[in-house]
Structure formats: structure tokens, C-alpha cells
Subunit: 479 residues, 2 copies
Amino acid sequence: DEVAKLLELKAQLSCENGEIQKFTLKTAKGTRDFSPQQMAIRENVFTKIIGVFKRHGAETIDTPIFELKEVLTGKYGEDSKLIYDLKDQGGEILSLRYDLTVPFARYLAMNKITNIKRYHIAKVYRRDNPSITRGRYREFYQCDFDIAGAYDPMIPDAECVRVVQEILESLDIGPFLIKLNHRLLLDGMFAACGVPQDKFRSICSAVDKLDKSPWDEVRKEMVSEKHLAEDVADKIGQYVQMNGKLELVEKLLSDTNLTKIPAAVEGLEAMKLLLDYCDLYGVKDKVIFDLSLARGLDYYTGVIYEAVLLGDTKIEDPANSVGSIAGGGRYDNLVGMFDAKHKQVPCVGVSIGIERIFAVIEAKLLSGPDKVRTTEIEVYVASAQKNLINERMKICKELWDEGIKAEQSYKKNPKLLAQLQHCEEYGIPLAIVLGESEIQKGIVKLRNVLTRNEVEVPRTKLVDEIRKHLKTSHTNGSS
Amino acid sequence: DEVAKLLELKAQLSCENGEIQKFTLKTAKGTRDFSPQQMAIRENVFTKIIGVFKRHGAETIDTPIFELKEVLTGKYGEDSKLIYDLKDQGGEILSLRYDLTVPFARYLAMNKITNIKRYHIAKVYRRDNPSITRGRYREFYQCDFDIAGAYDPMIPDAECVRVVQEILESLDIGPFLIKLNHRLLLDGMFAACGVPQDKFRSICSAVDKLDKSPWDEVRKEMVSEKHLAEDVADKIGQYVQMNGKLELVEKLLSDTNLTKIPAAVEGLEAMKLLLDYCDLYGVKDKVIFDLSLARGLDYYTGVIYEAVLLGDTKIEDPANSVGSIAGGGRYDNLVGMFDAKHKQVPCVGVSIGIERIFAVIEAKLLSGPDKVRTTEIEVYVASAQKNLINERMKICKELWDEGIKAEQSYKKNPKLLAQLQHCEEYGIPLAIVLGESEIQKGIVKLRNVLTRNEVEVPRTKLVDEIRKHLKTSHTNGSS
């Protein structure tokens, strides 16, 4: 401990003496900074998503970035090893949050909240093996929408589907499909096929891999690794390769092998109701009932969702997906895990795969012809001659007072060319160009940066003229 | 390690079996959740502040919540002990960020950025002794605006003052004053008074306490604890009790005791220029040159700022402040600490004391007569009779399709009274009330929740009518 203190002191002194720290300048493994361009894109995406959440009346909450370690314990199965712990510096044992769902459940139980519709967009942390190419980071955003409360079947569940559809439509990232399934149906199907009860979860995880692996491989895992009888695996295989709409529900409801299991019937009836509601909510074309959808997390108890982006070819083939971009489901027992009296608060929700969406949009925008603007400056206050800093400042003040977004060079005597280049680089639509003779005449030059057109405007009418010009360029869509 | 694994497994199993975890349900010490009401207030404040940053052309960036521990080492002096470290789970040694300034400097050096104007609003972490009553938490937001780049004296520095002024005005939290001083002048003053060079920093920290303690106590600290000669302390005392405007700069510029120290002259000339620029930027009335302003952080090299909220009595007395709500200054050497070739990037910036501002505004709003709305729902879709869920869903779909913010009960057959109470509780301005007979006639009832007025509207004109009503209630300011 003494040594540590001395080392710290030494490091401190060496810095104060202007010595340079000798270590690689980098962000922590699996994390990254976001540039102004990336942030501008993110802000735009967040605004659209939050717009949808607000259209559906969601409130938002926030929770701390770390929780008591005990809060997270036993919620993530095998993935618990990926949780970041804080160092024990005396006091409580803390961990960084792994998702937003467990803190949400903790929040509900702690505050005895029995119904809420909330969204939460925030960073979560996983000590996963980062894969930059696949866009997997150790620090990343989650973007959750959940409805908690004891309500009637499938009404909140259907709204989650509608919310996903509105978000993906508004982001304009190409065709997508929302896969639907039900945990009760999965369990019922496993029972009908003869899977032993204690193997339900592990067989379920195997099924979950069907979006990446072909059936043959999944079957091999079931038989060789998980010691399932071959004929049982084959029966599962027949079911999990089915997908469709209401007609598939009807078909399965006449499958006596399945309907002898009450859970299966319950799951199928729920699917039927959900599909009806999806129809009423206008999302019929975007949903597909898919028996291969399993989802890894243990806490789901009812409907499960997963939205996938489709490639350019046939939309109707769900195997033709380029990846999951949203997922969720019903989890009726999670909040009760935090309540001393086991009091349950039923919940259903979806998590938007915002990082994947960012990656898609970023790639599209940064390779496109248009520059991403990182500021919203409307007017740049430039000077064509020396010693006009005071005059520039007065005009900036006037514009700021009027709420106009304006800036100027921080140099006393900047070159005109450098000032105009700044305007072009940042996509600023208008520039005021100040000169001695104009000042004496009580006018300023207002320049359209794109067309390079200049008009002379009386100083007293400057603000009005700027407003007029901005309005025109907005309606022309050129800003 | 084996034992740990077994314990984890046990915890997991007990959860899966529906057993309840036995620990106090709480957030980590010094942290807290934010309710929808608090979040609504925060969002409103952030929107105003970001509006000012954008009016000044600031871009935004983001950095990870943790950094390599080495990045933070030697930047915070004595406060380093308050840094949260992450547990060593193999790999890099990491710490949670302590402020946004050091990560910003690291970002500039790492990306070789030599000029940028950026804002950053994000959470930082300090293992301080939390004081809930004084609003001091271990997780809290910082809200920084900084201008990096080699520019001409005081031009970016003056804009920081203007930004603080615009923010505090826009938040409408009462009278305030922005204190200004200069590190070179402080150093020059210490030299002029005969403080030994090696005591500059510790005497500076003592001066920093003058906003909370009277001069007598600060003097005692200087003499008894820091072993400064009594006559030297008395000389300091004469200076640090001065404050004023340009006339004070002029007076000090004629103080030969001070002007024999080049640093003091340089600091005074800088203050003069800054006050001139503040005048041009229209913030003359809000600034005061205050020789007692010192600020604790070691890395300041030029101008330093601190904004204080004033009490209700005399505005001109800076001692009459209810607390610091913004602070900052120039730090020209911090970025160079991260550069292998000592390359400096001069910076100046301010940090808005957002948590203190939240506390002030929250207290005002939550004790006021108006409810803080936590959602933006414009229309609630209610039904007066049973079995109208499908009809409600169709109308919701129609409204969402048109971008109208709408919601309905998640119960199949909710009571009308409960539905209308929900509208009042959440401040929803309009409700659609569905009934069998109206549906048959092709109309719906549109109800103004506040006035309880109801009008019958043809289904086909519903959206138009809603838009019209919302417009009226907006212009009446009643929403």
C-alpha cells in the first residue's frame, strides 16, 4: 500500500514537471470514442426512436450505471462471467449493469410500481470478446421499451410489435420481418416431442442457434452434446422448420400430438390473439409466426419477438436475414425475484439493437454523397478586412440574442478564404461578410455559401433578412 | 475460485427455483434512480442547454465511461483517491472517469485534433462522501463546453462567458454573477506579496476557500497550517478582498508593487481584454472581476470562471451567493501531457453545474401548482362500453399512422371513469370516447379533458379535428 502511494506520487510529480506519461494512448479494450459525425448520426437515430416511444406514451427513467453485485447475480445464466465488477475499495460490492431489464425490474420492485410504460436508452457493459468487424463492443447502447402491469392478454404485447414496426419504418433501413413465437408453445412442443423436462432449457438454447446454423448442425448438438434421443430430435426438427401466419396456428391447433399438451394449446391460442391484434394494428405484413424462434434468455415466460433485416431478394424467406436488430418478449416473473413477498409484476418489452442499426446507417451515410452536418450553425460572421473583431462580436451578439445559430473565427484577423472554407466544410448555409465601407454605409453583405450569391442588407434589417433566407433554404430542402 | 463458482451456481439455482434473494433492495451508495418526473425535468433542462451549445456551433463527442487507469493518474492531485477502479478481471486496469475534461484531452491527443468546439453531457464518478442534502452524489452529470485551438487572446474565453450567461438566462433560475480571474494574476500577486514559489499552489487552494469561509479563517490556514509569514498573508488579504470591473483592472495596473511582476501585468492586460469583449458580447452586467476566485484544479493556466446564483437581497455583493453553478477556465497544457512530443493544444472551457441546477428547478417545479407531464400523449382512446377493444385498436392505428401521440387502456373492458382519470393524471388534453351507437352512426365523441366539453366528430374527419383542437389548446397555452 505504501509502495502504491509512492508510485502514484511519483507519477503525479512527473506529470507536474511536464514529463510525458509513457503508455499507449488508447481507449479500453472493446470500447471506442464517438466523433462529432458519429454523434450527429446517433442523435438523429435517437430522435426518431424516441419520437416513436413518445407517440406511444412511454415515460423514461434512469438507473445508475452500477448496481449491487447481488442484484445481477443469478439473472444471466452462463453469461454472468461477462459482468464487469468494480474493485473492492471498501464498502459495497458493485458491478456494471449488463442490460437495462434487470435494473428496470429492480426499480419496479424497490419502488413498488405495479404499472408503467417506459423507455430507457443507455449504455450497458459486457466483458465479451470484442469483435469490431461484427460490431460487438464491451460498452454499447441498449434501447428498451417495456410495458409493466397486469393487463389483458396480448394487448401490450401487440403494441410492442407495432412499436418495433414504427421504429424500423421510420429509420428507413430496408425490408424487415418481425418473428413471433411463444415460450409456452416451445415448452409444449418439447413435451409433445418427448424431451425430458430437465432438458427443456438446454434444448431451447440449441433451437436458438437455428438463425445462424442449419438444422443438421443443431440436431447434432441435441443428439451428441445434449444426449437427446434421435427420434425426439427429428420430431423437433419437423416443428422448428415451420413458419407462417394464422393458417399455421390453425394447422397446429389440429395437431392432436401437440394439443394433448395444455401449454401448447395455451401458447397457440395466445399466438392467434396476437396475430389478430397485429392485423388491427396494421403490422400483419411485417410479422411471421416462426417456431424456430427461441431466444436465449431464461426469463421469458410468454411471447417472444425478434426483428431481422432482410437481404435484397425474396422478403418472405426468413432464412434470408442479415441479422437480428430487435428482440424481446414477456417476462412475468423477473420483478417478483426482487420482492420479499414474491409479488409479481407482469412485463413485456422489446430491445432495439441500436448499435447494429447505427452501423448500418453510418455505413450508408458515410459512403453517400452528402456530408453529415455536425453543427447547426445558420450564419457565419466573417470579415473581409483586418481589425473588425469588435464589429463581428457585436453582430454575433445581435444574432445570438435573436436565437440565431451563429459563429465566427476565433482569430482576430482571419483570412477571408479560410472563413469561407470553414462555411463549406461545415455546411453553413449563410455568411455575413463585413467590410469597412459597408459598415460606414450601414449595410452588410449576406452571402449564400452554396450559390455564392451576395446581397447587400441594411444592418437594421439583418435579422429579418436572415430569417427569410433560412426559411427559403429550408423549404428548398437544401439545408 | 471453485468455491466462488459453486456459490454463484447456488444463487442461480435458488433464483430459478423461485426463491427470493435475501439482500436489501437499494441502489449503490451515493447513487439514485430517476423517476419519470425527474427525467422530464432533466430532459427539459438538457434541451435548453444543448440549444445554447448549438447556437454557438458546438459539436458533441462521446468517450467511454471507463479509461485506462494510467490516463487518469496524476491529473487530480489529492482527489485521485476518489477515483473508482474496476476489478482486475484479467486484461487492462481500468477506472471510471472522474470528469469529462481529462477524457477530452486524451481524445484530442489520440486523434491529433488541434481545434474543435465541443460539448459533452455525461455521467462521471467520484467515491466522495455522498451528501444527499447538499446534492452531492457519487454518480452525477457533467455538462461541459470547451474550445480547443491556438487562437487569439480572450476571443474563445469571452464566448465561454457568453455561453454561461445564455444558459443561466434561459433556465430562469434567478439572478447570478459570473466571477472572473486569471491564474497569471494570482501567481503574480503571490509573488508580489512575497509568497515563496513552492507555496503558490497550496496558498492558491487556501484562497479557493474564500467563497465558503471568511478571510480570518483562510488567513489562519495560511499562517498556522501552511507556515506563511503573517505580513505576507496580510498583503494577500488586501488583494483577495477586492472585486470590481474595468476600473479595478486600471487601479491594479497602477499598483507598482504588482506591476513589477511581469505575470501580474500579463494577467491584468488579459482581464482588461476579456472585460472589453464581455461588453461587446452584452454580458457586462453579469461579470465581476474577483481576486478571491482561485479554483482548485491544478491544470488551469489562464482565465478562470465561476458562476454563482445570488440570493434575493443585494445583487452586487458577491459574498451573498447561494452556490457555484458553473465553473471553468483555460488549460493550455493538459492535452500535451498525452502527446509523445509534448504538442500542446490550448483549451478553454466551462462546466455547467447541472446537478445543482436540476435540484433548484426540481424543487421549484415539484412544489409549484402545475403538474410535470411525463408523457406527450395528445389523445387517449377510451371506450364507454364493453367489447370495443378492436375498434379502439383501429383508431389507435389510424392516429399513430398520422403521427399523433395516442394511447389506450391495456385492459379489454376498462371502466370509463378509470380511463378519464388516467387522462387527468397524465395531463392528456383530448380523449376519444367510443360507444356502440356512435360507431353505427359513423361518428366519435371528442372530449376536452380539462373543460369536459364533448363534440361529435365524423370518423372520416377525426384526424383533422384532433389537429385543429391541439392547435387551439397549444395557442391557448393550456397544454
